[in-house]
Subunit: 184 residues, 2 copies
């Protein structure tokens, strides 16, 4: 097997395809993000990398809050739409049914099976992107996406973003129990 | 559809299952991480959340460098092993074939189809976890994982970690081209 050097690349597999929500000028707006992950257990927190110029960022800075919405694969066209068009030019507030939770300024997409309501606790300007760290204030899940009280990825049927070939995929077969299969 | 409140939970779908490598006391060590994502395009950077007590963290702090290695699904048992056992008790330097790149202190797993060599540029103590932001200095990929010069997720066959049900999955079917399907 030969290894090829690609130079510094932003390649990681898999990436999620989530919708970041914020309220801009009083209206819900959403952008698609693949650069999002959990950042801490206590406090429960996540990070998402966003360009400063993004319309969604305006709302995050204004309110100090945002939402992360995990879409199902069936929402792929709407998710991609939110990644292509800016809220500066397209009103994205009517694409989904929107509700608000504890924070009142983090729009939660009702069609998405998992919603995380977040309060900004850190904002780190890195260059092209600012890394927003949000404390997770509340988590919402569709009741039909739980198995024995646990979030079930197979029922959530999340979208996967694959960089490189630039496509969306679904999850595939289960291949083992974590914190278990490695003991064999 | 009824929404259930779970309280603040560290739930996101999908999550990767990558191996974080560092050199501790001169020896390569690896830990499994699911809380890792790209953080910036320019400079190319990624973030990974690690507990301060982790053996791997010692090496990251000592050298200011680390690697992120994307394993294929076939490595699932070794990946899980690295998530269960600490380098304090098990020598993990012999599990994989290890090489070094530009930084000399970021161990690169040869069996993993994608390797990212990183230099620490930020370290943000959040509580239980420290968010390490690393500039990506070099990216390596197996030549048989490229299609028309682009990293191909289907050839890489990465591991997916699904929290909630706590299991590993593979990627599934391609459902659309990103930045394209949303125009329909």
């Amino acid at each position: 097997m030969e290894k090829i050097k690609l130079g510094p690349q932003t390649l990681l597999f898999p990436m999620p395809a989530v919708l970041v929500g914020s309220k801009v000028n009083g209206i819900a707006n959403f952008m698609t993000a693949a650069w999002c992950c959990i950042a801490s257990h206590k406090p429960p927190a996540l990070s998402v990398a966003i360009r400063e110029s993004r319309f969604t960022m305006k709302g995050i800075e204004e309110n100090g809050s945002f939402s992360i919405n995990v879409p199902s694969a069936s929402l792929v066209k709407k998710v991609d739409f939110c990644g292509i068009y800016s809220g500066k030019k397209k009103d994205k507030s009517k694409i989904f049914q929107v509700d608000y939770g504890v924070l009142k300024t983090a729009p939660l997409i009702q069609e998405c099976p998992v919603n995380l309501e977040c309060k900004v606790i850190h904002s780190i300007k890195l260059g092209s992107h600012t890394l927003i760290v949000g404390e997770i204030i509340e988590t919402y899940i569709n009741d039909n996406c739980l198995t024995d009280g646990n979030a079930d990825a197979e029922k959530i049927d999340p979208l996967v973003y694959s960089p490189g070939t630039i496509q969306y995929q679904r999850l595939g077969e289960v291949i083992g129990r974590a914190f278990h299969i490695g003991k064999e």
